[in-house]
Symmetry: C2
Subunit: 420 residues, 2 copies
């Protein structure tokens, strides 16, 4: 079994965990990602709102795996799988052989058939998405300082966030904080506290994966921060000037999309069955039907555990990465049994803003300041790399003591958006 080739595509939470667990084995492991960095996605919204710098939540994949001498990291874009030849095909025409294949290619945001909305309402999945959103938010305030017409300025100072899940709530809360706590004093022509932040959710409540009491608390906390929460409001149109909700119109220069995700096309590469969100339907051991040597994990996989769909969250992705690594290690040692994946729900945490968060661990539910501290400590604890932890802890300390933000940079040009 020595020298078996394991190819892992994608180095998010799932793929990276699988790679680490296969480190120091006799397998030859190749990790292929189209980025050179692993991204700590749960804090991406803080880059989008100028709280953290890009380098505080991203880390070179090869550096994270450097101690595992049997693991090689490659920068490359996978475009297909040849299941018969057992080869992974890359964009540049090259291909890599595998004995075991782990697909952990994640998800992108989805516009439910309205792909044309993307240029007006960027989503938040990559570092570039985050700097795009940061640029648009900061540019809107900059343009407002130069805008003589009241109505136009009002539009520039309106921020519409579509989607009331954790990302939408976090974005709305931190944009409101930016306007109310960070920016006042920096502008002469208007008061940033006049900015309107509107959170739009089609369903009846925000953070619908939490219990109703916690959802209601989140709504009140958002409103206290100055966010206008619109539930039961479905977006029917998005354009350069705002969003339409049926017969109602919200004029907003900045629209951010946090409403849906679509899995990467791994299921299509495999010709495997998938659900509506594009996730591959996998066997109970996370393998692809008919192909015990191919596994799909993380946000790209659709799997039930205890009769419920496993959610697309970091702990689930890590558990899946660990699970397939252990299956593959077993196979290398001659164990060909099927090991079912079982999701261990460690509880849910969501933050709303300054000293407001909610937590549900099943046996206990928390809200407010205590949940917020817990959220902060948990996120710092799970950040990869000693220095990132220290850097983020210091950034947060700085932000909360000084009120200023460390990464208020408008960088790169934006072809889809007006600029000075």
């Amino acid at each position: 079994m020595r020298g078996k080739r394991v190819v892992i595509v994608g180095a998010g939470f799932a793929g990276l965990e699988a790679a680490k667990r296969l480190g120091r084995t006799e397998a030859r492991v190749v990790v292929i990602d189209q980025r050179n960095h692993h991204l700590f996605q749960p804090l991406l919204y803080q880059v989008g709102t100028a709280l953290l710098a890009t380098s505080e939540i991203a880390w070179p994949i090869r550096h994270l795996l450097r101690r595992h001498r049997n693991v090689q990291t490659l920068l490359g874009t996978v475009v297909g799988i040849d299941k018969a030849a057992r080869r992974v095909q890359l964009e540049d025409g090259t291909s890599f052989p595998y004995d075991y294949l782990v697909l952990a290619t994640g998800a992108r945001h989805a516009y439910f058939g309205h792909d044309g909305w993307e240029r007006f309402a960027p989503g938040l999945k990559t570092l570039e998405d985050a700097t795009t959103i940061r640029r648009r938010i900061l540019t809107a305030f900059e343009l407002a300082e130069r805008e003589p017409h009241g109505q136009m300025r009002e539009k520039l100072l309106t921020f519409a966030i579509v989607g009331g899940g954790p990302t939408g709530v976090e974005l709305a809360g931190t944009i409101a904080e930016l306007a109310h706590h960070t920016l006042p004093g920096d502008f002469r022509a208007f008061d940033p506290r006049k900015a309107a932040v509107v959170l739009i959710e089609a369903g009846p409540r925000v953070l619908p994966s939490f219990r109703e009491g916690l959802s209601a608390y989140a709504k009140r906390a958002l409103e206290r921060l100055g966010v206008e929460v619109r539930t039961g409001a479905a977006v029917t149109e998005v354009d350069a000037d705002g969003v339409t909700l049926g017969s109602e119109r919200i004029e907003a220069a900045t629209v951010i999309w946090a409403a849906g995700v679509q899995a990467s096309p791994a299921a299509d590469w495999l010709g495997a069955p998938k659900d509506r969100a594009g996730r591959a339907n996998v066997e109970p051991d996370l393998s692809v039907p008919g192909h015990p040597e191919i596994f799909v994990i993380g946000d790209t996989a659709m799997i039930l555990s205890d009769g419920k769909a496993v959610p697309g969250v970091a702990p689930a992705a890590k558990q899946q990465g660990r699970h397939v690594a252990e299956i593959i290690r077993g196979r290398l040692d001659g164990d060909n049994q099927v090991h079912r994946f079982h999701y261990r729900d460690q509880g849910s945490l969501a933050t709303i803003g300054r000293r407001a968060a909610i937590a549900d661990f099943g046996w206990i539910r928390l809200k407010g300041g205590l949940a917020w501290w817990l959220w902060g400590i948990a996120h710092i604890f799970f950040l990869i790399g000693v220095r990132n932890r220290v850097a983020v802890a210091l950034s947060w300390l700085w932000i909360h003591t000084s009120g200023s933000r460390g990464a208020r940079l408008i960088t790169q040009r934006d072809p889809d958006h007006p600029e000075p």
Copy 2:
């Protein structure tokens, strides 16, 4: 004199200093910049080589000026000056009136008539330049890991830096350190220590603004770091595959330009006389001939002090900003005398790499470790903003104790360069 309008274009070292010195006066000051951030350019090469993050050396201009209630910051691109109407014209068609105008628009890198070389050999003046260079350097190593052919891999692992001034020396030294100290252990297919860093200088020695002894030390220090120093070597061609030096060819996937600067077009806006580098020839008080109400300062101005051209360095820019601010304050109080600008040379510092730098204060010259510590302390001291200082100090401490770098991120796509 109350309510006179002062417009400052550009918030680099010169413009920002002028704005601060005019803060808390009765003048109405408007600072216009096409970026939202002031950039600490002396450390830009450290962003280009993944030592520092972008947000560690850049700071929102309006935040730096927030306490000066008479100063307004505007994001905008100036495209012309109407001297007769005394108005500054912006790209979007709007214009701003002035009683006094300060042009501090800086310089860009220059290709001596070979503008086509820019796409193959980016220069280093903006944050985007720095992330472009960082992306190219890191991508070259990434591609080398996938490259099966020895000759191609050698080309990928060759880094040519054109220009032996401070920026070229700093870039060459830190790229060599990256290859020799940071990256070994992270790659499987090759040894990063095999990378070739070539510093190309047309003149007879590197750091020509320093005395010969210090230049010679810098050359030896570079060679100790593994840099190949080529003096007396003029570049005759730059393309996607490398550089040509007369009859010699250096195959290099990464070429960086640090060879020349060209002033921004402020002299053209004014129809004023300029030198070969495009700098406006100004009066001894930094005003434009025939226009005592218009000043040109910093890298955009050509002025003699003690018979020598004032160099394009940060201390000179700051002194000029302070000088014109004092002239304008005097005018507001009815003082119309001409005050000559006199440059106070506080000495020169240049760093080569890990514990190697040179310093010349006239009365004393230093080289080696002591000069390096002095360089580091001086740069941290001059960094704007308490947190940036702390952040940079911690980053450096981390880099020098752990050997890893904090900002090894490949972000954004590069239309001018091959990528995986």
